[in-house]
């Protein structure tokens, strides 16, 4: 059989500080291991990018306020403000942002903010020859996606939308860059149920308050015991 590594096409392996859009390429065996099916392999491709989440983990984590939401609904890291603390990097549930070691700052897809200011569509949508990458108002895209899903499902294909709405993906509030997939999200290195880390921070802070009270209590108790022993 073949030694599948994915490296035949995908040599960037992931999104990062320079690979703002990268194509996941999964060689997916269609037949179970050891079956007589002849070892058929399907090529699954998905053009991955920053999801520009409705509730963005990177934005909520950024301590300098460098990361903001633009007037176009995209998430943008201001390169003149970012001081390279790197906290946005583990805060992204999709592993999108990265910090460059040589530059020091964090970078990710900007949804071509400069092109949007010039009323142009992002470069990736412009370049895509099959019009797989589409750009437009979100409600229009959602309608198009629903139509495409219905027509593919009618042909018997196992397809699903990923992150198309807050109802579908409550952990992120829905994605501004969502996907039509024909397999499980894990095949494309997408988390099945991503959650912005800040959801659930309340109980963490409460636990910190409890810890703080415990520290003060131990200090007080020790002081009282010490006084009695004098």
């Amino acid at each position: 059989g073949f030694h599948l590594t994915g490296m035949s096409y995908d040599n960037t392996a992931a999104l990062g500080a320079s690979t703002w859009r990268h194509v996941t390429f999964a060689e997916r065996p269609l037949d179970p291991e050891g079956s007589a099916g002849g070892g058929r392999i399907a090529w699954k491709m998905m053009s991955d990018v920053c999801k520009h989440c409705e509730r963005a983990g990177c934005l909520e984590a950024c301590p300098t306020g460098a990361i903001l939401r633009t007037e176009h609904g995209s998430i943008y890291i201001q390169p003149d403000v970012c001081n390279g603390c790197g906290y946005c990097v583990p805060a992204c549930p999709f592993g999108v942002v990265a910090r460059r070691d040589d530059d020091g700052r964090a970078f990710k897809c900007t949804l071509c903010y400069d092109r949007l200011q010039g009323q142009l569509e992002p470069a990736c949508a412009k370049a895509c020859p099959t019009d797989s990458i589409q750009f437009g108002p979100l409600d229009e895209l959602r309608a198009r996606a629903a139509d495409r899903l219905a027509s593919l499902a009618a042909k018997g294909q196992r397809v699903r939308l990923y992150g198309e709405s807050a109802a579908a993906q409550p952990g992120t509030g829905g994605l501004h860059a969502f996907f039509l997939l024909d397999d499980d999200p894990e095949v494309y290195n997408l988390p099945p149920a991503p959650v912005v880390p800040t959801i659930g921070a309340g109980s963490s802070w409460l636990a910190a308050a409890a810890g703080a009270l415990g520290m003060a209590a131990i200090a007080l108790g020790s002081a009282l015991v010490a006084r009695r022993s004098r």
Partner: protein, 347 residues
């Protein structure tokens, strides 16, 4: 021949033909071939072959490791110690009536102030653009534990410095300053636990309720151990140290238990062969237990206190590095992200 020489950053852009504008133009590219390392030096802590979620993308990570260097777990240790010192100083000061009883708070204020200053230096050193460190105070953002932590560190540094200054002049600290020291110090020791829990790293996020109290206990235990080294005869030292070390063991068990319940405790308890994070975790736990036994030992003497203090201090520092390293291993393992999410999605 171009009048605009190649800037030599590997992008080979002839400035006569193409101009650099836009978001990517300003990036300082010195090493284009290693623009982003996938998982530097990490072997993902992949679970046993009978994992419930067999599908991954060639075992490549899905979330990213925090790009922090050793400065950060060192800051956890030093900042925690400083916060505990500030808290204990405030408590002792509120009840201190004579000059002799103000001696220990004086020392604690010094420890706190110097620790907070060292902590700030460590944080600045870890930044990608250290000269922009003041950008941390541009905003007040409650959603970001790192932003709140910067404000907490600033407040704690100010109160500790004022407390130390008052002590150096032989004056009593006003009660409001002591209370401010207690609060800011305790927050300084615990907010870092919230900080690592507020990430997509599976093990950190799963233990986000257990780690802040554990960090508080580590801070108390580290201060108690320090007191065993520098002030073993003081009446506060023994009970404070024993309480802290006991709390450290109890809350440490809670952290491991929370990780186990979420199914992400692989980095803490790997299969045979070990891993760096589990070795650190095991060693920190054993040293912590040994330090507690040494503190409890009935025969008191200078050597016994030194041993108890050294064991305790080593265990608290190793504990900080253990949880940081465990987070790196957890982020590098795609199954740690996929399996719990898939299990939660299943009805």
């Amino acid at each position: 021949m171009s009048e605009h020489p190649d800037p030599g950053d590997g992008r080979h852009i002839d400035r006569a033909l193409g101009d650099l504008h836009g978001e990517a133009a300003g990036i300082d590219v010195r090493d284009p071939d290693t623009a982003w390392p996938i998982a530097p030096g990490i072997t993902p802590a992949i679970g046993a072959p009978t994992d419930a979620a067999p599908t991954t993308y060639y075992d490549l990570p899905v979330v990213k490791i925090a790009p922090w260097k050793a400065y950060i777990p060192t800051y956890f240790a030093i900042g925690g110690l400083a916060g505990a010192a500030a808290s204990l100083a405030g408590v002792l000061e509120l009840g201190a009536r004579t000059r002799s009883t103000r001696a220990l708070p004086h020392t604690l204020h010094a420890i706190a102030t110097l620790g907070e200053a060292a902590g700030a230096a460590l944080l600045i050193a870890d930044l990608g653009r250290p000269t922009r460190f003041h950008h941390m105070l541009r905003v007040f953002r409650p959603t970001s534990p790192m932003n709140l932590g910067t404000w907490i560190l600033s407040a704690a540094s100010a109160t500790s410095a004022l407390g130390w200054l008052a002590a150096l002049r032989g004056r009593r600290s006003p009660p409001v300053l002591s209370v401010a020291g207690i609060v800011s110090g305790a927050l300084l020791s615990t907010y870092t636990g919230v900080l690592i829990g507020n990430t997509a790293v599976p093990l950190w996020h799963a233990t986000r309720r257990a780690v802040p109290p554990w960090f508080a206990a580590l801070s108390v235990a580290s201060l108690g151990s320090t007191l065993e080294l520098i002030a073993p005869a003081h009446p506060v030292t023994r009970v404070y140290s024993i309480a802290g070390k006991t709390a450290q063991l109890a809350t440490g068990l809670a952290v491991a238990s929370a990780a186990r319940t979420a199914g992400v405790d692989g980095p803490l308890r790997p299969p045979r062969g070990g891993s760096r994070s589990s070795a650190l975790w095991r060693t920190a736990t054993l040293l912590g237990a040994a330090g507690l036994v040494a503190s409890l030992w009935p025969t008191r003497g200078r050597r016994a206190s030194l041993l108890a203090g050294a064991l305790g201090l080593a265990s608290t520092v190793l504990g900080r590095f253990a949880i940081t390293e465990a987070g790196r291993a957890s982020a590098a393992d795609p199954r740690a992200t996929f399996t719990p999410q898939r299990a939660a999605a299943r009805p």
